[in-house]
């Protein structure tokens, strides 16, 4: 506890602690000091000079934001001298440009306006200056009105210090100063990624969303706090709502995990909610087309569809795909419906396609398959190893932590990725491994660590078992021996190994580049071995952290939307658990057999074993490997019910389409990638007769004769808590301000940001030696190029939501095949040529884009675009343990069109 000292503020004696600024002391004691340029958590800038206070002991004005509190200071925060200075400053700012509040979109949320009112400054002492710079509106999302810019520098710090995108800076000098991007070019031609952090930081109307002039102003809207519906980071956001429409989205300041930051999708990608294409009524297939129907009619058709299948072919002929986009409560109900009403364990969801190998891999080593540490914890790492994750594009707000750790806290970054992803620019070591050679390089790193004695023997002795077997299995994996396979220079690999092992705390971040392989589970185990070998587990700044791709993919797993697990990862195969669940759910028995995985369902459908499917909020036609076969499977079903917010590519195959609600139209919780359970709140009435997924499932269950009562979502969570040990202490009233990290065993439990601190979930950690193996399909003469797939920043998954947003589409309209210029030469291609890309499973047509990120010999295709669906090409071969397909490596050929 630092020593307490006192100072005098406005003649009042106040206690402060070493390290506090005058502003800190004032704010803590409710003393108002105006600020414009000050941004909490960042180093003081001292630019605007509005926070000056009078230091009577020194006889001068000092800035409260930057001046440390000192013993016996005598401060006046509103003395004549102070007020005079502030009024002068405001006068100068108000006359510096075009500050006409009447026509300003920021009216009512403008700091300059507020302070002008408080200090009664009219801006009339000097003639108004004419701004030399024109308004910029040549991008789809942000307007830059330089005539309202007061050069406070907040946007620049938001861009450079908060988001670390380094896209804008102050250009020119003095009065000619201007916020510039890329040497004074429009934002769209710069490094700007349109996260809008600058817009949120702007204290005036200089930076506003593009359509702000045609929207209600902030004070005219109601702000509803909720959780972002895009990736797994789970950013907290305010929806600004009026007349049943979202007009703006802002990040929630001072709240984890995002502390106010958002990415382009979260901030600007809400247009889909009010899209005219939303499903508003149930649809029933008739004469090859879909017609509108009532809920009664549609649900009756569903019930008869399922019942027919169950009667004729048994419950095992029904498959249910739940949704990682839906809430915990909904996933819970859907799996409960599947198990108790339909009577099958054939339930799965898209975690199968992204992190099923994580769940199995980490589960075997640590006993738990989730992110071990929190998002905020990334900034505490000394070394960060990122592999198989294009973090800045797939988890933009989480990547901020990595970039800040490196640029502001001196962390070292190792990136292992074949593509030159944006994070490479921040990396101290970049290893460019060949596709599918992950086990080899990880094993070789461990071999170096053991050989050089860099391992944490104490941790290994106390916390783990199986080390000798691991050691044995690693013999032969020298950096030199694996070089031919991995393509990594031995010395670089050694550097990375020493860096990782030598750190006090080192964090591993990984995503689909590791998991989406036929050896996905083994890849994950390898990383877990590596972390345990160096003792980087169960401590701040360490951990093995799988970055989950969807808003609630963690929660959908937690809720047991899995064929082998009940909520809380309780084994279906365990009779005692089965009995407990049956009792709680009021049924006599539950199916014993483990169900089908999502990747097994489509082949089984093609074989005729699976006859009926119920797909909730998923779009396997685009998202699953080898989509030609997926389409065939869907076509062959006896009955297909699809529940979604849009008529997706998959819904077009449905016999009944059930219109569901978006995140903005319902209550519930999402669990983000760091296991934080967070609230989703209703902001809008749903369009037409669409219903929340929970309501639809409840109605379905009732039609089957179940006695589920129609309750609100907090009641459902209470039921979840009673049956899911990790969620035992989760209660809505505890989630109001910030969520809770599971495991949270009871109502008194504070949640668990870091797993495995004292012991692993399975007691001792179990080293799992694994051997390297090549991808299931390798390049050959016919298919000489590798294909790898992934995401781009401005689109999300199958584009169901993002492609409804004009702004996002304008920034990445095109489906591009990313190719290295070297390969383009080989195939005689120019940038922008149309090509046919073919694999053994199909072919697509798309445009070629040269990229400095690309790997020679490998093409990269994002999987968002239906018109050039990358998954027509991908290999459906799966990891034998987890069932995850190998999206990240297959063989293709390339041919120019025409």
């Amino acid at each position: 506890m630092p020593e307490q000292q006192t100072l005098t503020m406005n003649k009042q004696s106040l206690v402060f602690q070493e390290g506090e600024t005058i502003l800190d002391v004032a704010r803590r004691n409710g003393v108002f000091i105006p600020t414009i340029c000050h941004m909490e958590g960042l180093t003081p800038s001292g630019a605007c000079r509005l926070c000056v206070v009078e230091d009577e002991s020194a006889g001068k004005l000092v800035t409260a934001c930057s001046t440390p509190a000192r013993r016996n200071m005598a401060l006046q925060t509103e003395s004549k001298r102070v007020v005079s200075s502030r009024r002068n400053t405001l006068e100068l700012l108000l006359t510096s440009g075009n500050h006409d509040c009447l026509l300003c979109p920021a009216n009512g949320e403008c700091t300059l306006q507020d302070l002008a009112f408080r200090y009664q400054v009219a801006g009339t002492s000097y003639p108004r200056q004419v701004q030399p710079y024109n308004l910029e509106a040549v991008n789809p999302l942000i307007i830059r009105d330089f005539s309202k810019c007061i050069l406070c520098g907040r946007c620049v710090r938001a861009c450079q210090e908060v988001q670390v995108n380094n896209a804008i800076s102050i250009g020119y000098r003095g009065k000619a100063g201007k916020i510039v991007a890329a040497g004074d070019r429009p934002l769209k031609d710069s490094d700007c990624v349109f996260c809008g952090e600058c817009v949120q930081a702007c204290p005036t109307g200089a930076l506003v969303p593009k359509d702000a002039r045609f929207r209600p102003r902030t004070w005219q809207t109601e702000q509803v706090r909720t959780t972002c519906p895009y990736c797994g980071v789970g950013c907290q956001m305010f929806l600004h709502v009026r007349d049943n429409e979202i007009h703006r989205v802002t990040g929630v300041e001072h709240a984890p995990p995002n502390e106010g930051s958002l990415c382009v999708k979260g901030r600007f990608g809400f247009e889909f909610v009010s899209s005219p294409e939303r499903l508003k009524t149930p649809l029933i297939k008739e004469n090859g087309g879909l017609r509108e129907a009532s809920w009664d009619e549609a649900l009756d058709v569903c019930v008869s569809g399922f019942k027919t299948a169950i009667d004729r072919h048994g419950p095992e002929s029904v498959g249910v795909v739940s949704s990682a986009r839906a809430t915990n409560e909904e996933n819970y109900l859907i799996q409960k419906f599947t198990r108790t009403v339909l009577g099958t364990n054939n339930i799965d969801h898209c975690a199968r396609l992204c992190h099923s190998s994580t769940v199995s891999g980490l589960g075997q080593v640590f006993g738990s398959g989730a992110m071990t540490n929190s998002i905020a914890d990334i900034e505490k790492a000394e070394v960060i190893l990122v592999t198989g994750s294009n973090t800045t594009e797939s988890h933009p707000v989480l990547s901020i932590r990595v970039k800040r750790a490196v640029t502001q806290r001196g962390a070292r970054l190792i990136v292992v990725d074949p593509r030159r992803i944006p994070l490479v620019d921040f990396a101290h070591v970049w290893l460019r491994q060949n596709l599918g050679s992950d086990i080899a390089w990880i094993n070789a790193m461990m071999q170096v660590i053991i050989e050089e004695g860099l391992l944490d023997q104490d941790f290994i002795d106390r916390r783990s078992m199986g080390f000798e077997e691991l050691k044995e299995a690693l013999s032969g994996y020298t950096p030199e021996a694996v070089q031919a396979f991995t393509g990594i220079e031995p010395e670089d690999l050694r550097t990375a190994a020493r860096l990782y092992a030598g750190a006090g705390a080192a964090n591993i971040l990984y995503a689909m580049g590791i998991t989406q392989h036929v050896c996905g589970t083994d890849n994950v185990k390898s990383l877990a071995n590596l972390a345990m070998l160096c003792g980087h587990i169960g401590r701040e700044g360490g951990g093995v952290n799988p970055l989950r791709g969807q808003n609630n993919v963690q929660g959908a797993c937690d809720m047991g939307a899995l064929p082998n697990l009940y909520p809380g990862y309780q084994q279906v195969s365990d009779p005692a658990i089965r009995d407990k669940m049956a009792g709680a759910w009021g049924v006599d028995s539950l199916p014993e057999e483990q169900g089908l995985t999502a990747t097994e369902m489509f082949p089984r459908a093609l074989q005729g074993d699976l006859r009926t499917m119920y797909i909730v909020g998923e779009n396997p036609v685009l998202s699953d490997a080898d989509s030609t076969h997926v389409r065939q499977a869907l076509e062959g079903l006896d009955f297909l019910a699809v529940q979604d917010i849009f008529l997706t590519e998959t819904a077009r195959y449905a016999d009944v389409v059930l219109p569901a609600c978006t995140f903005a139209e319902k209550e519930g919780t999402f669990t983000n990638t760091e296991r934080r359970v967070q609230r989703v709140r209703k902001a809008l009435e749903p369009p037409g007769s669409s219903l929340p997924d929970s309501e639809i499932v409840i109605r379905l269950a009732k039609r089957f004769g179940s006695s589920w009562s129609c309750r609100d979502s907090s009641d459902i969570m209470a039921e979840v808590a009673s049956l899911t040990p990790q969620y035992g202490g989760i209660e809505y009233c505890r989630l109001e301000e910030e969520g809770l990290h599971w495991p949270c065993w009871d109502l008194q439990h504070p949640g668990t940001p870091i797993l495995h601190c004292d012991e692993f979930a399975c007691g001792l950690g179990r080293f799992q030696p694994v051997q390297s193996s090549p991808p299931a399909e390798v390049i050959d003469e016919d298919y000489p190029l590798w294909l790898t797939t992934g995401r781009v920043l401005y689109q999300y998954h199958t584009g169901t939501m993002t492609r409804k947003s004009r702004g996002l589409n304008a920034l990445s309209r095109e489906r591009l095949v990313e190719i290295a210029p070297e390969d383009a030469g080989t195939y005689g291609l120019e940038d922008g040529d149309e090509v046919i890309v073919s694999s053994r499973r199909g072919s697509i047509q798309a445009r070629v884009g040269f990229s400095r990120a690309a790997v020679p010999g490998t093409v990269f295709i994002p999987f968002h675009y239906a018109e050039a669906a990358a998954n027509v090409l991908t290999n459906p071969r799966t990891d034998p343990v987890s069932g995850i397909p190998e999206f990240k490596a297959c063989a293709v050929q390339l041919a120019r069109v025409g």
Partner: protein
Amino acid sequence: MRVKVFNGEGCRAKGSDEVYRALTAEVRSQGVQDRIEVIEVGEEHCPGYCTLSPSLLVEPSGMIYQDVQVRDAPGLVQNLVEQQEPLSKKIYSPRKLEEIPEEQETDFFGPQLFWTLRNRGRIDPESIEEYIAMDGYQGAAEAILEMEPEEIIEEVKVSAIRGRGGAGFPAHIKWKAGAGARSDIKYVVCNADEGDPGAFMDRSILEGDPHSVLEGMIIAARAIGSHHGYIYCRTEYPLAVRRLSIAIDQAMGYGLLGENILGSGFDFHLQIYQGAGAFVCGEGTALQHSIEGKRGMPRPKPPRSTDKGLFNRPTVLNNVETFANIPQIIVKGGKWYSGVGTEKSKGTKVFALSGDVRNIGLVEVPMGTSLRTIIFDIGGGIPDKKKFKAVQLGGPSGGCIPEDYLDLPVDFEAISQANAIMGSGGMIVMDESTCMVDMAHYFMDFIQDESCGKCTPCREGTKRLLDILTRIKEGQGEEADLDRLESLSAYITDTSLCGLGQSAPTPVLSALRSFRKEFEAHIIDKQCPAKKCPALLHFEVDPEKCASCGQCYRHCPAKVISWQKKESAEIDKEKCIQCLTCYEKCRFEAIE
């Protein structure tokens, strides 16, 4: 016979290079190459006597020709060939130039004391051997091999040397803080971003004696335990940068820089960083940001640089002149140094004397020398029989000192009492024809242009000050403007972030304080007493005095003067553009 043309940076500005080339060509065209050798010599031989230039020295006679123009070349060469007496108007001194620094009899050199500039003109700045021969690196050797860091700081404390960058902060306090800061990495930084208009003290030291700066830095590094230093030199000083690079290479070669200096185990690496021309980068924190690769803008203090400076590490930042003084303080002792000067300001100070004074140039005087001595003895007084009006000290951050204070001894405290600042040493003398409103306007224009734009008072406030001054200059001023100037100035001083902003209004305020009547004349009488503000001038021909010569008529660029032979001229006031041409051309003082 050899003709040495002084062709350093300063002389070139006055056309010495053209003279050199003209002489070379002339010698060739007269075919006398075998008799006369024309060579150019740079800063290393510079006598610091800028008034002379372009100038040349004839050997072996030792004749100095001053103010030589290109058109003089034929006659000059011919004279030399014919061994005639030199053109009389061109001669300055029959003595050999090399002797001049020792020569204390002249008014110019008599009162000066060359400590900082001790080696200037006496050694080849590109030769470390010559520097060593003048006791060079002896201080560094002593500091590294024989002294403990505390002893070095103690010696600096005894010398009582204060920072020569302008603020006069005692060097030993800064060094002690730097030495006491706990960090594995510390920096020593030399501020060579000399940017004040009319200041060239640092440039002269860097170009004429670069090793003295290096040595001072090595000693500082040893005192605080730093192993890495930067010299932040403005890119407009290419010769200084080149000389410094050569000096660093030579010192590395002699084991005086780099790893294991003189076998002591002490390492110190030094590199040059070139500034890109922003005045504000002379401010310590902005300078550090600039080295870090960021935009050069100041940050609030605390933290002090000695706690968190360059790259957030403890940093000791001193100016060129300070470092150049350090070696001899170590060699001769702090006591020796403090033997000269006033009670609180010790040693010598270099000034760049310029403006309306006969002898323009670089001068070094003991602290405590009076302004009168500097301006009237060394400077030779005001030319053209004009009267002294004021002297501007400290550049755009400084103020002007009127005649009443001429006997003021030069010392940090005395000068600030006179509402100016010592600054880095720029000293601009102004005669009676200077308009103080115009002067204030000039400096405010400079400051406004050089404001980095970070903080509101400096960015917006100086713009408004300039607007008001422009208004007054143009005859649009109102009486309330003087209050506005004062209150806005007080606000800017009170509220600005860095020293540049805080001192920005000083030229205005000091002019207003000493010459308020002149401002009032502009505002109330709509007149510019010094006849400098064109908008306030009305030109009229006095028929009594007019000699009807027609000079004004012929030279008027606007053709608004009517004149016929034997009749007095007349000016169309409506169309007059107040260019002053007629006023200057009239030999009969008939135009007023």
